[in-house]
C-alpha cells in the first residue's frame, strides 16, 4: 500500500507494529521480509519515487578534514535510495574483518562471519546475484579464459566479486511493496524527530514532515532507522528533547567512527608479456571478477588494514577521472544530468569493442586500491547550526584518517610487487605519493567509494558501541538500526551485500520478538 503523506490531513496519526525509517537497500530488504506476515509495517520514505532537487537539498551539509564529496550528492533521497546509482559490486566480508586485531584500535565485531553467512545467501537473491560462492576453485572451471596470476595464495590471494545488474531497488521492489497488504509505504514522510518516553528507554513515536507543510505522528512497537550512516546519526543527534546529547548517545559515540573505503590509484603493474588478465577485468555484463587481496597472516605480520587492489589496463585507466572529482557539481543540473546518463544501456557495438579491447592483452595495468579506513573516533558526523527546509539541523562530516591507511596501501602494493617479482611475471611501480615512507600527506586525488559506515557502530559494551549484536540501540528497548552505520569496521569490500545481509538478520530477530 502506498500513501503520499502530503495528501494526509495535517496532524494525522499513523500506527503500526514496525516502523522502518528509510526505503533504501536496508529498509526495503527488511520490509520485504514482513510481506504477507501478520505485522503491519510502516515504511517511511522522505522522498518520492523519483529524483527531485528539493528532496536532495535536504541532504546538503558541510565537511572538513580530508576533502570529501559534496554531502548533497552522496546519497539519493527517494524510494530505492542510493541503489539508484550504485554500480553493483558485491563481495562478502572476510573472517578477519570481524576479528579484533591488536594492531587496529577499536576493531572487533560482537558477531562473526558465520553469523552472517545464512543472510549473505538470502541477500544474493535480493541483489540478483549468482550463488553464494566466492571461492576461486568454484569459479575457475566455470569461467572461460580465467588464468590466475602465479602468486603464492598465502601472501596474495584472489578475492572475488560478483556483480548485481545493478538492482535498482526503486524499480525492482516498488510493485511488491506498493501491492503488499501489510506494508504501508509513506512517501514524502521525512522523519524529523524521534520521541522517547520520559525515561528515555522506550520510543513512543516519530514525527514526519514534508514540503507541503504537513506534520504527522507515527507510533509503533518497534522502530528501525534505515536511513544510511549519515542520516541515522543525524536523526539520533537531533532527537534531543529528552536526551540532550541525542538518543542512544550517553557515551558520545553516535556519529563517531565514520568510515569510508579509501579508493585511489596506487601503483602500476608491468608485464614482460602482454596478457589480457581476463580474470581481473571488469566490463559490461561481467558476472565475476577477481581483485588481489592480502592474506590474513601477512596483514598481521605487517600490522596493516584489509584492502584489495584491482587491475585495469593502464592506457584506459589514465583517462579516468579520480573518484573524488566525480559528482563535483552537487547542484541541480550537475546531479540530474549524471543521473539521467547512468542507466542508458550501452549499445551492442560499444559492448563488442569493450570486450575485444579486454581480450587483446596489455603490457601495463593500473593497480587501484580499495582499503578499509581504520575506525577513528575523530572521523565523525556532527550537527551544524544550519537547518534544512524541514527544520532538521544539517549534518557536518569531519573526515579524518589515521597513520595506518597510507602505510597499509604502501605495504599492500609492496607485497604485490614482491609476488610479481618472485613469480617472474611482472614488476610493480608505486605511485609517487607512496615513495616516501615518512610522508603522511595525501595527494589531491585521494577519495572514497561513497561507502558510509560506522556512525552507530556495533559493540556489546555500550561504552564502545551504539548498538548491540542485534543492532538494538543500547539502553532503548525498541529502537534498532539497520545498515552500514552499524559496521564496527569497514571491511575490504563494498558494503551493500553486507548491509543487506545484516538487515535481513535484524528482520529475522524482530520477527522472532514479535511472535
Amino acid at each position: 500500500m502506498h500513501i503520499d503523506a502530503r495528501q494526509l490531513d495535517n496532524g494525522s496519526l499513523i500506527e503500526g507494529d514496525i516502523c522502518i525509517v528509510g526505503a533504501g537497500a536496508a529498509g526495503i530488504s527488511m520490509a520485504l521480509q514482513f510481506n504477507g506476515a501478520g505485522q503491519k509495517v510502516i515504511l517511511l520514505e522522505g522522498g518520492g519515487f523519483d529524483y527531485e532537487e528539493q528532496m536532495q537539498d535536504l541532504y546538503a551539509g558541510t565537511s572538513s578534514g580530508q576533502r570529501y564529496f559534496p554531502l548533497r550528492s552522496i546519497r539519493l533521497h527517494y524510494f530505492g535510495g542510493t541503489t539508484g546509482h550504485w554500480a553493483g559490486f558485491c563481495a562478502p566480508f572476510d573472517d578477519i574483518d570481524f576479528s579484533e586485531r591488536a594492531w587496529i584500535p577499536h576493531s572487533g565485531w560482537p558477531i562473526g562471519k558465520a553469523d552472517l553467512d545464512p543472510y549473505y545467501a538470502k541477500a544474493h537473491e535480493i541483489l540478483e546475484l549468482g550463488p553464494y560462492e566466492y571461492r576461486e576453485e568454484y569459479w575457475k572451471p566455470r569461467m572461460k579464459g580465467w588464468n590466475p596470476l602465479p602468486f603464492d595464495r598465502k601472501v596474495v590471494w584472489n578475492k572475488l566479486w560478483q556483480f548485481s545488474p545493478p538492482t535498482r531497488f526503486g524499480k525492482k521492489y516498488r510493485d511488491p511493496i506498493v501491492q503488499s497488504k501489510n506494508i504501508h509505504l509513506y512517501t514524502y514522510a521525512q522523519v524529523i524527530n524521534i520521541h522517547s518516553d520520559r525515561s528515555g528507554k522506550h520510543i513512543d513515536s516519530v514525527n514526519i514532515k514534508n514540503h507541503a507543510g504537513k506534520t504527522h505522528t507515527v507510533r509503533a512497537k518497534k522502530f528501525i532507522l534505515a536511513g544510511c550512516a549519515i542520516q541515522n546519526a543525524r536523526l539520533l543527534l537531533a532527537s534531543d528533547h529528552s536526551s540532550p546529547k541525542g538518543l542512544g548517545n550517553e557515551n558520545d559515540l553516535v556519529g563517531r567512527y565514520f568510515m569510508e573505503h579509501i579508493e585511489m590509484k596506487s601503483a602500476e603493474f608491468f608485464l614482460i608479456k602482454p596478457d589480457d588478465l581476463y580474470m581481473y577485468m571488469w566490463n559490461f555484463g561481467t558476472k565475476v571478477r577477481s581483485e588481489l587481496a592480502i592474506a590474513p597472516d601477512q596483514q598481521k605480520k605487517l600490522s596493516i588494514l584489509n584492502g584489495t587492489s584491482s587491475l585495469s589496463p593502464l592506457e584506459s585507466a589514465k583517462k579516468q577521472k579520480a573518484f573524488i572529482d566525480n559528482w563535483e557539481d552537487a547542484s541541480g543540473n550537475g546531479m540530474a544530468k549524471e543521473m539521467r546518463e547512468l542507466d542508458v544501456p550501452a549499445d551492442k557495438d560499444s559492448k563488442r569493442k569493450a570486450d575485444q579491447a579486454l581480450q587483446k592483452g596489455y603490457a601495463s595495468f593500473q593497480l587501484f586500491t580499495r582499503i578499509e579506513q581504520a575506525p577513528n573516533p575523530d572521523s565523525r558526523i556532527t550537527l551544524s547550526s544550519e537547518k534544512d527546509e524541514l527544520g532538521l539541523r544539517r549534518a557536518h562530516l569531519h573526515w579524518q584518517f589515521s597513520d595506518l591507511e597510507k602505510r597499509s596501501i604502501r605495504s599492500i602494493h609492496s607485497l604485490i610487487g614482491k609476488e610479481a617479482g618472485r613469480s617472474g611475471f611482472a614488476r610493480v611501480r608505486l605511485l609517487e605519493y607512496l615513495h616516501d615512507e615518512q610522508d603522511s600527506s595525501w595527494p589531491s586525488f585521494t577519495g572514497g567509494g561513497w561507502h558510509h559506515m560506522g556512525t552507530t557502530r556495533m559493540h556489546s559494551d555500550p561504552k564502545k558501541g551504539v548498538v548491540d549484536a542485534q543492532c538494538k540501540v543500547h539502553g532503548i528497548d525498541n529502537l534498532y538500526i539497520a545498515g552500514s552505520s552499524c559496521f564496527t569496521t569497514a571491511g575490504a569490500p563494498n558494503p551493500t551485500l553486507t548491509l543487506v545481509a545484516l538487515s535481513l538478520r535484524l528482520a529475522e530477530h524482530i520477527r522472532q520478538q514479535l511472535v
Partner: protein, 135 residues
C-alpha cells in the same frame, strides 16, 4: 657503442610498454656478446623500462646505498653465489642472475628494495647501479 645505440632510441613513447619491448630487445640481444654486460643488464627490467630509467634507478640506488658506489664491489655482489666450479659465460650467468633475481623477492632472502617506487630485486637494482656507474 652500446651507449650510442641507447641514445639513438630516446624517442620512444613512454606510455607504450610494447614499444619499449620491441626497441629494447635488439639492444638487449646486442649486449649478449659478453658476460660482463650480463652483469649490467637487469634482464627482466630491461624488457619493461628504457635505458634512461635503468640509469635513473641505478643512480637512485647508489644514493640510497652510498657504500656500494663502486663498480668492482657491485660486480662482486651481483655474481655472489655463482657456483665456483662452473665456468662463467654469458648464458650461464644470465640463467644464474634470472634465478637470483627471483629468489631475492622471497621472504627468506629478504632482498627486495624500493627504488623510485619500483619494487625490485636487490640484484637487479645493483645491476642498474652498475650500469649507471659504467656509463
Amino acid at each position: 657503442m652500446i651507449t650510442d645505440k641507447i641514445h639513438s632510441r630516446r624517442n620512444f613513447v613512454r606510455t607504450s610498454v610494447v614499444s619499449f619491448t620491441s626497441l629494447l630487445i635488439p639492444w638487449l640481444e646486442s649486449c649478449r656478446m659478453n658476460a660482463k654486460y650480463e652483469k649490467t643488464i637487469p634482464a627482466f627490467l630491461a624488457k619493461v623500462v628504457d635505458a634512461s630509467l635503468i640509469r635513473d634507478i641505478g643512480q637512485a640506488y647508489v644514493r640510497s646505498f652510498p657504500e656500494e658506489r663502486d663498480s668492482t664491489l657491485l660486480e662482486k655482489l651481483i655474481i655472489k653465489g655463482y657456483p665456483l666450479e662452473e665456468k662463467m659465460n654469458s648464458d650461464s650467468l644470465r640463467i644464474f642472475l634470472e634465478q637470483k633475481t627471483k629468489d631475492d623477492f622471497s621472504d627468506t632472502a629478504g632482498e627486495t628494495v624500493i627504488i623510485k617506487g619500483w619494487v625490485l630485486s636487490r640484484t637487479e637494482a645493483r645491476q642498474c647501479a652498475l650500469y649507471a656507474l659504467v656509463q
